[in-house]
Every structure is written in C-alpha cells, then in structure tokens.
C-alpha cells in the first residue's frame, strides 16, 4: 500500500489556499490544510476540506456528450467541437454576436480565463464577459 501526502492548491475560489492531499494507492482519500502556507496558514473553508470528494465523484464527466433527442449521447471530441462551432455560427448569424455571453470562473486557471475572454472578444465579437463571482 502506497501512502503519500501531496501538497497542492485548492481548485475552488481565487484565494488559492494551500492544501495537503492524502493519496492512498494513487487515489485521493482526504484533504487537509497546509499548515505553513502563507495564504491560509492552516485553515480551510468547507469547500477546501472536501476537494477529495469531487475528484473521485462518479458524477464527473469523462467524455464529451451531446444532447440528442433529450438524452445525452457519447461522442468524440472532434464531433463535439464541430457541433458547438456550428451552433455558435448559427446563433451569431441569426441573433448577432451580442447574443452570446461568456462566463469565466475562479476555478479555471488565469490562462484559461484569458483564452475565454479573448475568445469572446476576438472570435465571437462580443464584450459580454463576466465572472461567476459576480452572480
């Protein structure tokens, strides 16, 4: 049995508290605060304490899915991207670029947030970009 304690950063909000994962045989089984981390100094909120729950959740998406006839159907990445692109093109052609909104999140990395707003502004052509924290 392989037991490791792996330091990391909480993936929820933008605070970025230090966490310590208990990893048993390659699987996350518990989350603890990093006591010496300068941001949280050994404290966590309830979301941070339960990071290991969502990582192993059976509800996590594992493949691209497209809703067809009211039910989700598993498809390839290429198909999923193509369908999304086609639908965006249709919507923008019919209703204009400002009919699309893009919501970014503290759960994404800074780089992903940058891409998302660049996509909204340069590709879709809208400045309807907002953040989950403002909801």
């Amino acid at each position: 049995m392989e037991v490791k304690y792996v330091p990391s950063v909480c993936s929820y909000c933008g605070t970025g508290c230090g966490v310590l994962f208990e990893v048993i045989d390659g699987k996350l089984t518990a989350t603890l605060p990093l006591k010496t981390h300068p941001v949280n100094e050994g404290r966590l909120c309830i979301k941070g304490w339960n990071l290991h729950e969502y990582v192993n959740s059976f509800m996590r998406l594992k493949a691209p899915l497209i809703k067809t006839g009211g039910r989700f159907r598993r498809v390839s990445w290429d198909q999923a991207i193509q369908v999304t692109a086609d639908r965006f093109t249709d919507i923008i052609a019919k209703h204009g670029p400002d009919s699309v909104g893009v919501l970014v999140s503290a759960k994404m990395t800074n780089e992903e947030n940058y891409i998302a707003q660049k996509f909204a502004r340069a590709v879709i052509g809208t400045n309807n970009v907002d953040h989950c924290a403002r909801l």
């Binding site: 330091p7 310590l20 006591k35 304490w49």
Partner: protein, 271 residues
C-alpha cells in the same frame, strides 16, 4: 542524528513497516511516509514545528491495512491522542510505536518544536468583546453569567461551519457525526445555529479531547475552541477523576462495564 539512525534501524529490522514523520517538500514541512525501500529519504527526516495529526493518519492507514506496523514521530499531544484512539478501538494497541520529539521548550534540552510556540497574540477588540484564546477557564470567574454568555456568543457567531475543528481533530472518528445529522443541524444554514453547534461538539469532546489545540489552529475565525474543551474536560476531571490520553484504561464514558459497539475505524474512500 539519533532520531534518524533510530528510524533507519526500525525500518531495516522490520520493527515497523512504515514510519510517519516530516520532510521538507516544496518549501514546506510535510508529513511523509518513510519506507525501507527508500531508506535514504530518512536523511531528510525532520521534526518541524508545524503540527499535523499524524496519529489520525496512522489510524486511517491501519484501517485500510489492519496488520500494518506503523512508527511515528510523537510529541506529548500525539501520544495522548494515540491512547485515546486505543481506548475507543480505533487503533489496536501495539500498531503504532513512537519516537519522541522535543515539544515544549526547556533549558534542560536542546530543542523545541511546537506550533504553539508561535501562537498568535489576541487583538484588542477580541479581548474587549470576545475571549482571549490564550486565557484559562479560571479567568472567567471575574465575569458574571450575562457577560460570559455575550462574550461566547460573540465568538460563536463568527463560525462559518467549515467543520475544520472536527475534520482535523485526532480523536474525532465517528462515521455518523452528530454535527451532520439533518435533524440536529440544518444543512445550508450559515452561520450554524449557535451556540448549539459548538456545545454539541464540546459535549462530544468530553472524555476524548487531549488538549492538542489543533482545532483552534484550524478555525478560520479564531473561536477559542481549545479553551471551551478544556473547561468541559475540567468538569470531567472533577467528576470522574479521568484525564483523556493519560493511559489506555477504559474510559468512564463507556457504560455497562464493556465497550459499547463503536463505528468501524475510518476506511479510505471507496468507488
């Protein structure tokens, strides 16, 4: 030097299968499992002042692999917690062997390693309307009932219900925690119903709390939890002449002359 050599010997001789200690990683002193296959890592074994509940990790590992022999670095608080875990059937006696670590400072020894050496000073406002975390239960004698209640409520109402106090506590092991029972504590309520949330926990800490202070260190809003549980255990000490963690004798809280059925030790998450 003596510590590292001893740990290496224990691993080589097979006296323990794994050894729980600390090691610097990514600039932080972190708990680490030292094994015989990677004996050279023991050269990096340290006892840092950052305190993690190693005995809680040991109980979880032993639950996942019951015949394992575990060694660990132990301060006094760790040893008390190990006794309590034994008393409550969470650890078979003899599963864990300890290597003692200097905890509190003294002129009679070379070092001291405890996060309480750097406990934060209580601020002015908290002392004025709340409670000084560094105080003792006796300090409350000067306040009347109303003032005591007001001060405690000022502290409790800051609670954000993170469950940190319970999650980090080395002697909290119940699979069905009262603090999560839907009939007692409503989900989604913030702040939690005070003071009942904290009083429920305090009552459950009677006869179990080993005064390690990890709960207070884990509380994001500095509620004086250690102080509260100290008071509860003072009552336990007065009434039953029992101090948790002092030995592995049966606790006065186990009734009917034999251990009541307890939940199984924590298992690593399945599925």
């Amino acid at each position: 030097m003596g510590m590292k050599a001893e740990v290496k010997t224990w691993l080589q001789e097979g006296r323990v299968d794994i050894f729980l200690g600390y090691r610097m990683m990514a600039g932080h002193p972190l708990p680490h499992v030292f094994v015989k296959d990677r004996l050279q890592e023991v050269d990096e074994l340290i006892s840092a002042d950052a305190r993690y509940p190693l005995e809680k990790f040991a109980a979880r590992i032993a639950a996942a692999q019951p015949d394992i022999k575990i060694g660990m670095l132990a301060r006094d608080c760790n040893k008390r917690a190990l006794n309590v875990l034994s008393v409550w059937n969470q650890l078979e006696p003899g599963t864990v062997e300890t290597v003692d670590v200097n905890c509190c400072p003294s002129n009679l020894k070379d070092g001291a390693d405890c996060s309480y050496l750097k406990a934060p000073k209580t601020g002015f406002h908290k002392k004025r309307v709340g409670i000084d975390n560094q105080s003792d239960p006796e300090d409350f004698e000067t306040y009347d009932q109303q003032e005591r209640f007001t001060r405690w409520m000022n502290e409790f109402q800051r609670c954000i219900k993170c469950y940190g106090c319970r999650n980090i506590c080395p002697v909290c092991f119940c699979q069905e925690c009262s603090l999560e029972h839907p009939d007692l504590i409503k989900t989604g309520d913030l702040p939690p119903e005070v003071p009942i949330f904290h009083l429920v926990r305090a009552v459950h800490m009677a006869g179990r709390c080993t005064d390690c202070g990890l709960c207070e260190e884990a509380c994001p809003v500095d509620i004086p939890l250690r102080l509260l549980y100290r008071k509860v255990n003072q009552i336990v000490s007065d009434l039953f002449d029992y101090r948790p963690g002092s030995n592995t004798d049966q606790s006065p809280f186990s009734v009917l002359g034999e251990m009541p059925p307890e939940p199984e030790p924590l298992k690593a998450a399945e599925g």
